[in-house]
């Protein structure tokens, strides 16, 4: 199965070809089945490969499967192939598994849409590129996947392109991502200049030889790559596209803008851990941007009324957690959270989709309420996901978030504090959404209320599967302090072996809240254990506080939030308007660029460039008209031309 790993991305591509080129007359059911089955095939192959991989001893679990030489061009030789190691295996399983469930869900969700086939073609194409991205064996191939998923994201955000908002949102996502991609490209070039290769297995083992610890090159490479990661994974300051991306169909938000594509940045940073550990400055930047974004996005999530936007800000916030983990050097915890987040966030989005389906497209949680009874399945699965994301033990989110918090604490207790506050906010805004949507008095519009209905089984089934995963998904990474084996982290260890010593080396660096971190280091094993338990207790505690707060504010005293908002009017308005970030970007970047472009257009382009181009064109056509006249059609003229040519040629030849 390991050698057949190319089948994993190839199968969804088959779906694209079959549905895209031949599927014009297919019935919708067939199109949907083909789309889902090809992805399921990828999942099965991934499972097979995974089974084979764990049979191998841990040290041999890194395999490169080369298909062919792709680009032999001078010094640049790129092999087309896939890297199968624990990290890519986790990603392959997560991506193909979640994608499959969302494909199935989409059959129900999209069944009335005109563009059903187009939708499945795009979705399959997305899965193809995403699998290429995570299975690539070189930066270049990874970049192909990277750009490919960006393209599919653009196509799917603007899926309903007839309306203005989705079309604009798609464009925004594309443009903002270009900024990040630019960073990625520059980073890639710098890697090539430094190492003379782009293959992962050639570059990473040499990292510590070529890049001195803390050196400028390592810092530049990692920061540039992180710019790319910020764009794709919607981190500050490049996060602005993700909330708008919610204009796409909801399963797309679940798949691309929650579970898979937006985690590509985290994956990339984790993949390049060998570089990052050599650049302490970059690690600090990653951690601070990560935790900052987590807090920042959580505050915005508190004030939104559009259920998908709440989830979008929540996604940004959770991605911030993952980057915090990477910045703290606990890459495995980041990937662990990436996986569990894929389960519960996909579930949240699909649940939101199911609510929309029931309420004829209603998104405003102020116009919901009391849906618990009418949508029992949606409600219970949504609740499970919310508990998971809030970090309630023993659901998946608890273990992964706790691993991050513990890692952050060891790096710097300030990081831990901010992350813990964010956890409180997370519980608060998520339960705010749950309480407002599913509990309390119904506030639905009349014509909507009549049609409320639970979704069909084809949509419920994926919800149930994801709910189960959201519960049990974390059990593979239970820390030793709770009697678990941290099996997940151990499985990933071969990929992050270069990260381990450095993380320890630096845990004492930086400022400290009350010297706790240093204390922790000097403590013995049993004290460390009790500290870990204490921190777990705190994170569980803040989650419960958050939930209680939500209960108090949004169920018991529904007037309270309004009062609070009134008493902090300015702050509330700033946050409600998303810190005016879109307006600021518009004023700082968009407008000046537009004005500059208009000036360039009218003065430089129209006069200078068009003038030159048109002039050159006129010169060519003029010349063409003259030369054409030499073509008289008389054979004797032609013969003379040949003779003249021969004489001239000989003359030049002998007398030059």
């Amino acid at each position: 199965m390991l050698d057949l790993i190319w089948l994993v991305p190839f199968l969804p591509l088959c779906g694209v070809i079959i549905n895209g080129l031949l599927g014009i007359r297919f019935p919708k059911r067939l199109t949907g089945t083909i789309g889902s089955l090809t992805v399921f095939g990828s999942f099965l192959v991934s499972c097979g490969a995974f089974y084979e991989l764990i049979q191998l001893p841990a040290a041999e679990r890194i395999r490169e499967v080369i298909l062919c030489q792709w680009i032999p061009s001078g010094d640049l030789v790129v092999n087309l192939g896939f890297l199968v190691d624990p990290l890519s295996m986790v990603m392959l399983l997560t991506v193909s598994g979640v994608s499959f469930l969302i494909h199935v869900y989409s059959i129900g969700y999209m069944h009335e849409d005109e563009g059903f086939r187009r939708y499945f073609v795009y979705l399959n194409l997305f899965v193809f590129f995403m699998l290429i991205l995570v299975a690539a064996n070189s930066f270049l191939l990874m970049f192909v996947g990277w750009e490919g998923v960006g393209l599919c994201s653009y196509l799917l955000i603007g899926f309903w392109y007839q309306r203005q908002a989705p079309a604009d949102a798609g464009k925004k996502a594309f443009v903002v991502n270009r900024v990040g991609d630019y960073g990625f490209l520059l980073g890639m070039m710098l890697i090539f200049v430094t190492f003379g290769s782009l293959d992962f297995l050639k570059v990473f083992p040499l990292a510590h030889q070529y890049l001195p610890y803390g050196g400028i090159t390592a810092t530049m490479i990692t920061l540039l790559l992180f710019v790319g990661a910020c764009g794709k994974s919607a981190q500050f300051p490049l996060y602005v596209w993700l909330p708008d991306a919610m204009e796409g169909p909801t399963p797309v938000s679940a798949l691309i803008h929650a579970a898979t594509m937006v985690t590509a940045g985290v994956y990339m940073v984790a993949r390049c851990n060998a570089f990052y550990v050599l650049a302490p400055l970059s690690l600090g930047v990653v951690a601070i941007i990560g935790v900052g974004t987590a807090l920042y996005a959580a505050t915005m999530g508190l004030t939104q009324f559009d259920i998908k936007r709440v989830l979008a800000y929540s996604t940004i916030s959770q991605l911030g957690y993952m980057f915090l983990a990477c910045g703290a050097g606990v890459f495995a915890a980041g990937i662990f959270h990436l996986m569990t987040h894929a389960f519960f966030k996909a579930l949240l989005f699909l649940g939101a989709g199911s609510v929309m389906h029931a309420l004829s497209g209603e998104l405003d949680i102020r116009k919901m309420g009391g849906l618990r009874k009418q949508l029992p399945w949606t409600h219970s699965t949504f609740l499970i996901a919310t508990l998971a994301i809030a970090g309630i033990a023993p659901l998946a989110g608890f273990f992964s978030k706790d691993a991050i918090l513990w890692g952050a604490f060891q790096k710097d207790s300030w990081l831990w504090l901010v992350a813990a506050i964010t956890a409180l906010l997370t519980a608060l805004y998520m339960f705010r959404a749950v309480f407002m949507a599913f509990y309390g008095k119904p506030r639905l519009d009349e014509h909507v209320a009549k049609h409320v209905h639970e979704s069909p089984p084809v949509m419920i089934l994926p919800l149930v599967v994801l709910a189960i995963l959201s519960v049990v998904g974390g059990w593979i990474g239970i820390p030793p302090s709770l009697g678990g084996g941290e099996w997940f982290q151990e499985f990933l260890a071969p990929v992050f072996k270069s990260a381990a010593p450095v993380a320890v080396h630096h845990q004492a660096g930086g400022l400290s809240l009350v010297g706790l971190a240093q204390a922790a280091e000097s403590l013995g094993h049993s004290e460390e254990l009790s500290l870990e338990w204490a921190l777990m207790g705190v994170s569980l505690g803040v989650a419960i506080v958050g939930i209680s707060l939500a209960y108090y504010l949004y169920l018991k005293n529904p007037e309270a939030p309004g009062k609070i908002a009134n008493s902090f009017k300015t702050l509330y308005w700033i946050i409600f308007n998303k810190y005016y970030m879109d307006e600021i970007y518009n004023a700082i970047f968009v407008q000046p660029i537009r004005r500059g472009s208009e000036w360039l257009w009218h003065s430089v382009d129209e006069n200078v460039i068009d003038g030159t181009a048109n002039g050159a064109g006129r010169l060519c056509t003029g010349l063409s008209a003259i030369l054409k006249r030499l073509q008289t059609g008389y054979v004797q003229n032609y013969a003379i031309w040949m003779l003249v040519g021969t004489v001239l040629l000989m003359a030049y030849y002998f007398f030059r």
Partner: protein, 482 residues
């Protein structure tokens, strides 16, 4: 004088083609008019046999007929290319043979014999053999160019081509004679050895011979200023034959060119490279610039093929393993994309070539989406747009030129390629953005579909996965590098 060993397998490919030709003549007498298609399939079958035979390893026949011919990897590469081209040309001819009033049996026979001529040019290790091959193919092509019965243009094309071809052949032969006079041999290897031995770098007799040889080959390659026949003949000949001339004849002539200039005259390269530099520049420029103002698609493609010969010359000037392999790679890429474009011209041209004005292509993109898309891909590839074959071809050629230090030549080449974008894109624009001016009803037939699919797959594959071809090209030019 002793009679050299006759090694039949060394000319097996040619023998298969000749026997097929004889069979076709015979069957032409017995097959009913309605079933003339079978002659085409018989021809293709014979060519496929030849192709398979050419692909098999012929160990031990590397040099045969006393050193007159060779079956080295270079021969093999070009034999596969040329026979492949002949197959595609035959397939695309079947469409027009069905619709037109041409004599089917004779047509296929002549194509087969022209192919034999090309193959001889490729495998000849002696100037005489190369000349023999050239004449064999020329005579067949002269006749084929005039094969559209009743079309004045066609007869005119044949006659013009014949007159000027005879004129050029005289130059070629005179050149060979002078080279013989200077070196005492017509063998490729012998000439190289003699030049090295006697240090003939500035021998006027030899240089004059080489110059005249260049004129003779330049005529077949349609290099400016020996190109003037090209547009008229390409326009007048049946379109499939035009494709054959543009691709097959050129491939054979370039093979002979490489064989002679790379094999026999490398030591006086400093003498002929400057001349080729000039020829490449004016060939590219005149080809591209005049193509701008063409209104007939066959004439446009004629000028385009002149320009492409110029690009290939750049590869020859660059030389070295990168340059020579780029030349072979380009010939392959050029074959796929050009045959594809001509295939569509044949198909769309319809009975008696009614639709060969560029304006006739208006609206094609909408009425026949597959045909439109395929044409767009071929034209984009010809223009050198990635990720298609034409782009990789140009990329290899120009990077070879840069590597050998021909910066200006590369700049001129790239500028030319820019000019060419205009006339290739104009056709695409007309196909997709103009309302149709007349009704054209097309019926897909098996042969033409095969042609288009092969050309499409090749054009895309050579652009995306160039390595398969490049490796073979590199393998075939080992003898040039030494």
């Amino acid at each position: 004088m002793t009679i050299p060993d006759v090694n039949w397998t060394s000319i097996g490919t040619e023998l298969i083609l000749i026997s097929t030709a004889v069979l076709v003549i015979f069957f032409d007498l017995v097959v009913k008019d309605k079933k003339k298609d079978s002659l085409g399939y018989l021809t293709v079958l014979g060519m496929l046999g030849a192709l398979v035979f050419a692909m098999t390893d012929k160990e031990g026949t590397a040099i045969a007929f006393g050193g007159m011919i060779t079956n080295d990897s270079f021969t093999q590469f070009l034999t596969v290319l040329i026979v492949g081209v002949a197959i595609i040309v035959t397939l695309m001819s079947m469409q027009s043979l069905r619709e037109g009033s041409m004599d089917v049996g004779g047509y296929h026979t002549l194509v087969l014999l022209a192919t034999v001529g090309m193959l001889l040019m490729v495998k000849g290790l002696d100037l005489i053999i190369i000349f023999l091959g050239l004449e064999t193919l020329s005579i067949a092509i002269y006749v084929l160019a005039g094969y559209r019965k009743g079309a004045e243009q066609s007869a005119e094309a044949a006659f013009k081509y014949f007159l000027l071809g005879a004129f050029a052949a005289a130059f070629l032969l005179y050149g060979i004679a002078l080279i013989y006079g200077a070196t005492g041999t017509t063998r490729i290897e012998g000439i190289a050895q003699y030049i090295a031995l006697k240090n003939l770098g500035t021998n006027p007799l030899l240089l004059l011979g080489v110059g005249l040889l260049l004129v003779g080959l330049g005529f077949k390659l349609a290099l400016v200023p020996f190109h003037s026949w090209t547009p008229d003949v390409y326009e007048g000949a049946p379109t499939a034959i035009t494709a054959f001339m543009a691709v097959g004849v050129k491939a054979a002539a370039f093979a002979a060119f490489v064989r002679i200039f790379g094999g026999a005259l490398p030591l006086i390269a400093f003498q002929w490279k400057d001349v080729l530099w000039m020829l490449a520049v004016i060939t590219m420029t005149v080809g591209n610039v005049v193509a701008l103002s063409q209104t007939n698609i066959k004439r446009m493609l004629a000028y385009s093929s002149i320009a492409h010969a110029g690009y290939i010359l750049v590869g020859i000037i660059a030389g070295g393993s990168v340059g020579w392999s780029a030349v072979l790679y380009y010939l392959g890429a050029y074959a796929f994309m050009n045959l594809g474009a001509f295939g569509i011209v044949v198909f769309y041209g319809y009975k008696q070539e009614a639709n060969v004005e560029i304006a006739d292509y208006a609206g094609l993109g909408f009425r026949y989406p597959f045909l439109g898309a395929a044409m767009a891909i071929f034209l984009f590839s010809l223009a050198g747009i990635p990720p298609l074959a034409g782009f990789m071809g140009k990329f290899y050629i120009f990077s070879a030129a840069i590597k050998s230090g021909y910066i200006w030549l590369t700049i001129i080449g790239v500028m030319n390629s820019l000019v060419s974008v205009f006339y290739y894109f104009r056709v695409t624009v007309i196909m997709y953005m103009k309302e149709p001016i007349k009704e054209v009803v097309l019926n897909y037939s098996l042969p033409i579909t095969i042609v288009l699919i092969i050309a499409l797959v090749g054009t895309i594959q050579m652009g995306i996965a160039p390595n398969f071809y490049l490796e073979r090209a590199l393998d075939s030019i080992k003898w040039l590098i030494g």
